[in-house]
Amino acid sequence: MTQDGPGVPALEMRGMTKRYPGVVANDHIDLDVCPGEIHALLGENGAGKTTLMNVLYGLARPDEGQILLDGKPVQIASPADAIARGISMVHQHFMLVPVLSVADNVILGAETMANPIFLDRKQARRKIADLAGRFGFELDPEAKVASLSVGQQQRVEILKALYREARILVLDEPTAVLTPQETDEIFGLLRRLAADGRSIVFISHKLYEVLEIADRITVIRRGKVIGERRPAETTEEELAELMVGRAVELTADRGESHVGRPMLQIEGLRVADARHREIIPGLSLEVRAGEIVGVAGVAGNGQDELVESIVGMRTPQGGKVTLDGRDVTGLSPRKMNMAEVAYVPGDRHRFGLILAFPVYDNLVLTGYYSPPYSRSFLRDDQAIKSSAERQVEKFDIRTPSINVPAATLSGGNQQKVIVAREFDRPLKLLVLDQPTRGLDVGSIEFIHRQIIAKRDAGAAVLLVSAELDEVMEMSDRIAVMYRGRIVAEMDGRTADKSEVGLYMATGGREAAEATA
């Protein structure tokens, strides 16, 4: 029980311990949430937040510890068990059926039957309409989920939880995929839910967010509770230090940019997907030497297609890509690599690494075919390994040795392997797709510094990120992408975050109206 908590906490976890081979993911963690409270769980990736919530949701068995609901000890064996006890979880990746309507998605798995054959849709609709009205959801129950924005889909997930009479709601990084406006909306909704007496566990690693939304903040690091704070009593700097274990530079100091000649020029680029739908209907963009251009946009607006068309992973239907004055449209990934283009793919496990291969092989994945790594069809293992040792040192890759499989490294160190491989040579252009997604603060700091160093050495940088904060922080110039087009370009130093967010969400329609 907390000092000023009204009575018994709705949820209390005592001494939760979960061990995995070689690591203690949760080390005697205590956590309690009162009715009507928003309790933020703050920690870096890998700190043990998700493990703790998986234990609560019946997805993992704790080795030690006790869970109490309303003061009574309970055993939670499965997610079904958790739901039955009023615990619901909104995952980072939504668990929705795109072709079904909002209402059908909400009742799926918790159907009430009118008779042994037919669903009682009428009653379900009534209940959904009632919930939506009470908390101000603004959702059309008949709309297909596939037609909804990411923010709306997330509200469907929350509606699902409420429909199942959730009293304790766990949200795992709920704002990671949202625009600033959508984030504001979801915060409003969470506050209304708390006012209704529900308990909310809000998992995040974004400092200003937890300060804004939470009543209480618990910081965990390496599986242990490091501290508990109230937003009024703390600052971003203190929270960051608790989370990382040392003082951190919260914003990268990117310094002055010295912009040179146009390095990457994209003119009228058209890209279609496998089903001939035009994803990019004609896009033009220029990145100059010594400049970081950040592409902001809600995920799924053609960013992946743009990046893949530049680096040769995808053949554009039309348009022209010029690199330092040379036409490189439709060149293969190998030719682009030889043209001094670095590419950090968005999905590092799928494209960027061969997880089963040792670190030293992954460090030459794109350069293995030429000296010094090979000579006339033969690999030079000596050269490969000594270069690997050097890069592990230079890029601060934390690994027991260069011989272990890349799968055994943490996400941040895996990404550093890719960065080392792609950055450690003369470059004209860097194409970076979500280079810090899912990484810890320390790794983000390091990778951002590497990007800035490359820019200062005269390379052009195209940075695509769904994290608006990253785009705002890193970009000399910001381009907003919406439905396959660049709808706005702004100076990175003067751009206003909510204005960028508005372009991301609407493509500029409302922004144009607002200024008119």
Binding site: G46, R334, L355, A356, T366, S374, P405
Partner: protein, 375 residues
Amino acid sequence: MTRRVIQSLAEPLAAIVLALLAGGIMIFLLSGLVPGRQPFDARLPIDAYGALVSGIVSFNGLTSTLVYSTPLILGGLGVAVGFKAGLFNIGGRGQFLMGSIASVAVISAIGGATGPWIAIPLALLAGALAGALAGFIPGFLKATSGAHEVVTTIMLNYILFYVSNWAIKGPLTLPRAPQPTTQDISELNGALYVLPFTRDLHIGVFIALLAVPIIWFVLYKTTLGFEIRSAGANPDAARYAGMKTRRLIVLTMSLSGLLMGLAGSVTLLGQVHQTSFGYDTGIGFDAITVALLASSNPIGVLFSGLLLGAMRAGSPAMQSQAGVPPDLINALQAIILLFLIVNVLRRVLARRRAGTSTPEPAALTAGKYSTESVQ
């Protein structure tokens, strides 16, 4: 380093030991069927395995171990190379037969005229190329249309079996033979018996033993091998890295077929000498067991090929001394395969149950590495 070697050996060794135990229980349960033995004779399994070992450790036993192992090693290398690239070549039967028939064709065409020193190398070359062609076809189909190699190689097995039958009955058949039979090439074969005082040791044994380090070198020391292994472990990453994955599929299937064809060629030249209507082989499938038992490692293929070859070499002694039929060897081989597959399934299921948040297909297919992240 040594720990990883020991770890990678644990699984196949356990499969072998468990298979031998299961085989022993089978012999024990069925001992009543052996003439002159009581039902449930606990001595019989010991006698049978004793006889098996005695059949292997004699001089003739050792040479015939090598002879039996030869096509298993070559074929096992073929399957293993495919596995490394993520390709499952089940077409060994057809590729083996093409290798055999091409060699017969060369010998019957020029053997009499040129003598063994020219005809036999040419026959080996033709056999290898015929196998490579039989592997090229499914590779080409996969690269151009996406047709899965498991389906096309199985279908090709039937087609090539009948092609081989047609050749035996048609252009290659001996005139005036009572049944369709090809020329007996042992007449020409003097040069193949490298050790004159052995019963059966032929030059193919040395080809197989030489192929092991060559394939190991190609896979681990050349850029082509790196590309093959990359395409197998993570095809998306291989494409990202600028490798030409379609070309790699065609190339690897051809190489796999080439080794199978070579297996057919050396078996025909050194062991079978003569084919008749209906000539067939089980090596294409046995080679899959060899490659799986070796986790697709070329050095491992050498040992698993020798093991299965030794069991075949010893089985006549087991028959004559203990009365246990040599079919037991096939049963043992099947049980080994079952234990290996159970282990693979167990690993896949364990990973699914652990609910690793990010699926890691690459590490999964590569199998031998742990995918637990140490973060």
